[in-house]
């Protein structure tokens, strides 16, 4: 059977329209779902350390190298703009070396790195 008239075609398949309420509920579900997805995505991204944090870690290595080579065994505080580094030096008993503690402060996060230097 050849059906060329559109009206005839629409009569053949009867499409029942959904109610307005159904559409609203569906849109609400999708909205809630997407907003939750967005929150999860943002949280996941937020858990990673910031760039300043990695810069601070690298800076600690640099400061440790300086301490070793230049034998600077004194307490010092450094402000590098996006992060702070505190250096505390403690002499070990029997003069066998020094304990050097670097504390990184990035935003509200703190991290400690400890070394023995002779």
């Amino acid at each position: 059977m050849n059906i060329s008239d559109p009206m005839q075609l629409s009569n053949k398949y009867k499409v029942k329209a959904g109610s307005v309420i159904e559409s609203v509920i569906a849109m609400t579900i999708i909205a809630v779902c997407l907003s939750m997805a967005l929150i999860i995505y943002a949280r996941v991204l937020d858990t990673d350390n910031s760039m300043a944090h990695y810069q601070a870690r690298q800076k600690v290595k640099e400061l440790l190298w300086e301490t070793r080579t230049e034998k600077v065994f004194e307490d010092e505080d450094y402000d590098f703009g996006s992060f702070l580094v505190d250096k505390k030096v403690e002499e070990l008993e029997n003069n066998i070396g020094y304990k050097v503690v670097f504390t990184i402060k990035v935003n509200s996060k703190k991290e400690t790195h400890q070394y023995i230097v002779r």
């Binding site: 029942k16 509920i25 579900i29 779902c33 939750m36 997805a37 999860i40 066998i96 023995i116």
Partner: protein, 405 residues
């Protein structure tokens, strides 16, 4: 008929988004676990390095008893173990956190007092004669009769100043060496024929020392590294095809083929001979102080180098003990010879000898140096010398790492 179903589509989208979010959380969680593991391992490495520094200051204590310590009270425990290795010592440091562990091993030695002593020549009532370009840079302890310019047939003294440093009077005997251990701890043995040619055999320093016993004289095509001792009851001829790193050689007679390069410490009884162009890299050494023999002899031929030290010691004064350093040969480190030293080459370090001698085609001369130089000032302050005198005045400086192995 197709039913309308907005909610069904919405739920489908929710499921897809949910799967996406779950995957994201899962990946993030695993990533965090992995990062924590990496950070912990990095901290373990740093802690291990610090522990090594700490144990370097406690070497004498560790020698008496192994030390285990939680250095920063962060749950990482570190263990330090000391073991002798020829002239030097090996410090083995292990750090453990839960099931993860990190090890590092270093060859260590003590820095010595910077006394600037270039030569200690015991007083046998004969002056020291310097011929042609012979020179001493640094302080010297000399016989009462002093140091003079010498003359041998056509060779006279040509340089402007043969002693660039102060001098004092020496005693009739050399300063006594403290007990040289030259040990290597517990051993397990194997035969040389069980070691494959051209295949690297490495034995770590935290394991028992591997003693490779050999009856064959010629050692060739072997690649041996680490905690290994090559031992023979007679002679060993080390061909240049061998690759030897940080190993010990123990035999009455040892010879190195021309062109050989490696890091070895040799414990011999009768003779050690380095043909031309042999380089024993730092930290190497030659020790002769054991065995009941009639003669002890070390020959270092032209263009050969020993970086570390040479010790020939025997209290038997009637025994012939001869060290010969040929022209253009070089020793960087100390030489202790309780016999005769024929010096035609260069020594960067300190020489302790009972006597110098010089043999030419025409004759032999006592206490003559022809063209030889001793340069104490050329030795860097960081150079860890072989331990000879353990009195506190000589050894007040701390232990240092010679190399990580």
């Amino acid at each position: 008929m197709i039913k309308a179903g907005s909610i069904a589509y919405a739920i489908l989208i929710c499921i897809v988004v949910g799967i996406f979010c779950y995957s994201l959380l899962l990946m993030s969680g695993y990533s965090r676990v992995y990062t924590t593991m990496l950070d912990t391992h990095a901290e373990l490495l740093v802690n291990n390095e610090s522990a090594q520094e700490f144990f370097l200051g406690k070497v004498d204590d560790i020698e008496e008893k192994e030390i285990t310590i939680d250095l920063f009270e962060n749950g990482i425990t570190s263990l330090g173990v000391i073991k002798p290795w020829g002239f030097y010592k090996v410090l083995h440091t292990t750090s453990v956190f839960k099931k993860d562990s990190v090890k590092r091993t270093a060859l260590i030695g003590q820095w010595q007092k910077d006394d600037n002593l270039a030569l200690y020549l015991s007083d046998a009532s004969k002056p020291l004669f310097m011929v042609e370009k012979a020179k001493i840079i640094g302080n010297a302890a000399l016989p009462k009769s002093g140091i003079k310019a010498g003359y041998i047939t056509s060779n006279a003294y040509r340089d402007t100043k043969y002693l660039q440093g102060s001098k004092r009077v020496s005693k009739t005997s050399l300063p006594k060496i403290d007990y040289l251990d030259f040990g290597y701890g517990d051993v397990r043995t194997t035969r040389l024929n069980e070691v494959k040619d051209h295949t690297r055999l490495y034995n770590a320093f935290d394991k028992q020392t591997l003693v490779v016993e050999t009856d064959t004289i010629v050692l060739e095509n072997k690649v041996l590294t680490g905690n290994i001792v090559i031992k023979s009851k007679d002679s060993i001829y080390i061909k240049k095809s061998n690759v030897l790193e940080n190993v010990l050689i123990e035999a009455p007679k040892v010879a190195f083929e021309s062109g050989f390069t490696g890091t070895v410490q040799v414990l011999a009884e009768r003779i050690v001979s380095l043909e031309e162009n042999v380089v024993l890299r730092y930290p190497s050494g030659i020790l002769m102080n054991k065995g009941n023999v009639d003669k002890r002899e070390i020959n270092i031929a032209k263009n050969s180098k020993v970086l570390g030290g040479i010790v020939v010691e025997d209290e038997n004064r009637g025994l012939d003990k001869i060290v010969t350093i040929e022209e253009d040969a070089e020793v960087i480190g100390d030489i202790y010879c309780s016999g005769k030293l024929q010096l035609k080459g260069n020594v960067t370090g300190t020489v302790y000898t009972s006597n110098f001698y010089l043999k030419t085609e025409a004759s032999a001369y006592d206490n003559y140096i022809l063209n030889g130089t001793i340069d104490r000032k050329g030795l860097p302050i960081e150079f860890v010398r072989i331990p000879l005198f353990k009195s506190k005045s000589e050894y007040f400086r701390p232990y240092a790492i010679i190399k990580q192995i």
